[in-house]
Symmetry: C2
């Protein structure tokens, strides 16, 4: 570690981190007046950046996630390139299932894949339900990055949500229609609830630990929610999400929390009543419609169609302006509606960032 | 062909088909009073039925779609088993891209896959844009099935929608995030519009031909719409869908048309103003919410979560009752919110059908 970076401890005083010099993100969440909207991009540390691919080269993906210097480096790369108002720690949602004892391999053309997906309730008995020190390197990465950022922008931590992690653990890889997971839901609801409860507790702990290590906002990625009917969302997943938000808020009342319920078009009202401070909106929604449904107390984040970055600069600017014209004057964080893609051109992301900067809040 | 089945001609008088004895489906679309809701199931002819697998065995899938006797047989199988109020011709959305000259293979674990997906605008020049007699066997299957059904229930024809077909033709197989298709949308909008226009014209012709051959309702399956932002839906796809509905209605004013816009939560108002008579609703919606958005003139179809059929009988009954309690007194067709799955148990579908039958319209 750096000579300039102190040692991470569980009672490290956050006041000792370098003072935050860009408060746009936190101002927006607090509903304070903004000179302009804060902006960052989901998966801003990713394969669309040459320097990211260079850093990743030769290191197995899941080792990489436990190498603080490397995670810090790729987290900082987009901050050096773009005038972002937030960084997000490089990690992966898969680290939690790994801690629980599930073995992952990276299959070509398939992506992360569990060698032995969950099949029966008995498989739950073998899962580890305590984090112990298994994610210490992730927290070291956050601690180190918070120092290295030197207050230029705040640092975001994250995790997968309980439904999203459960679908990966049961389907084995890319979840698609989630039909195996739904067999649990409809045939073994008690076992499924047990799995969700296990995940929710680990998720809440992992988020709180990330905050202790230095994260200044934490986000839950529920990227597969679009497969769920409202009945099952309300019965199994919403209560878990509410508990996660409450648990984190109880431990860290001053740190904002965000939820990305991708594809779940019916959940906004319920999530607006939760302890989540920020709802990240996918690209299929018009912000004004979502705002009308959630009221004024929650912060919205998003939601440019990521593939609009394939388009010409004028289109990116026009779409960004259209989006921000619906965003009110505060409690909005400009972002994409989902993550950057490997074949995106960084120049196009720059056009988006500049369009957000140029937008005048009325 | 049957001795009892006359020869299909392009001016065959539909009055010569056996008279329809179950008018529930058409009554519902006309908004007439119903003794009970009509019911059928998307992909009711499918691998969940042993007799279907037996019929399919040893015949290459894409040959099968052009074998009228076999298509008729598997169309009739679910009608023999269940007390359905409609049959739907066995075919595949892939037949249209095949007619256009695209070669398809069935890959294990991947499904239908185009050997040479569309890559550049020049690839459009090579596409066939006239149906000619290439789908005559599909129409023969409809004509034959309409006779064999002998008026027991009406016969539905179908096709894929322009977006869904375009995504398969560009992505090559299971479209996922549709990122290659969106590169066309954002980088080559004129070429993409040209492709959509070609598809829309073929789709409209194919639907009209199915009606001429005997189909009593036709449905457009737009199963991948959930990936589209409203801007691109409104610019590229909605106009094509409106034209399709108008074209079919102009040729066959008395035959109802249906659209299944899966995943597209924002399109109901626009589609309710179209010439489509029926909107098929996916399982993520509550029917009362959709009804409030579309008014009283359009018929809704759906929308039980297909995976609820994994559950116990009581759950299937309760969910079906909850669904139908939101369905008003007419202009509703009970169905699943998407298709039957290969690992579904036919007994559970029976529970659903009986629950619809048992439901008393107030």
């Amino acid at each position: 570690m750096d000579m300039n970076v102190p040692t991470r401890t569980l009672d490290f005083d956050h006041a000792k981190f370098p003072p935050l010099r860009n408060t746009l993100l936190l101002d927006s969440v607090q509903g304070r007046p903004l000179s302009r909207f804060p902006v960052w991009a989901m998966r801003q540390a990713g394969r669309y950046l040459e320097e990211f691919k260079a850093s990743r080269e030769g290191v197995p993906f899941f080792d990489f996630c436990h190498m603080p210097e490397k995670c810090c480096e790729v987290t900082l790369q987009p901050i050096r390139r773009f005038d972002f108002d937030a960084s997000i720690i490089f990690s992966d949602i898969i680290v939690l299932p790994q801690v629980m004892g599930m073995e992952v391999e990276l299959l070509p053309k398939v992506g992360p894949s569990f060698t032995t997906p969950l099949e029966t309730e008995a498989d739950l008995d073998g899962l580890v339900t305590e984090l112990g020190d298994s994610l210490d390197k992730v927290y070291d990465a956050i601690f180190l990055t918070r120092h290295r950022l030197n207050g230029v922008v705040p640092l975001i931590g994250f995790t997968g949500g309980p439904w999203t992690l459960a679908t990966y653990m049961i389907e084995g890889s890319s979840p698609g229609k989630c039909t195996k997971t739904k067999q649990w839901v409809f045939q073994r609801p008690d076992a499924f609830r047990r799995l969700i409860d296990m995940l929710a507790e680990l998720i809440a702990t992992h988020l709180a630990n990330q905050i202790t290590a230095g994260a200044q906002l934490v986000q839950v990625f529920e990227s597969n929610l679009g497969e769920l009917a409202s009945e099952e969302f309300e019965e199994f997943i919403l209560p878990a999400l509410l508990r996660i938000a409450e648990s984190v808020k109880q431990k860290h009342p001053s740190v904002p929390t965000a939820i990305f319920p991708r594809g779940c078009h019916f959940c906004f009202e319920a999530l607006a009543k939760s302890k989540f401070d920020v709802i990240s909106v996918d690209w299929t929604h018009q912000l004004k419609d979502v705002r009308a449904r959630v009221g004024e107390q929650v912060t919205l984040q998003g939601n440019l169609e990521p593939c609009a970055l394939y388009g010409p600069d004028e289109l990116i600017r026009a779409r960004t302006e259209k989006m921000l014209a619906q965003a009110g004057s505060t409690r909005h964080i400009a972002n994409l509606g989902w993550g950057m893609l490997p074949d995106h051109d960084p120049e196009k992301l720059q056009v988006f960032v500049e369009a957000v900067h140029a937008f005048e809040i009325k």
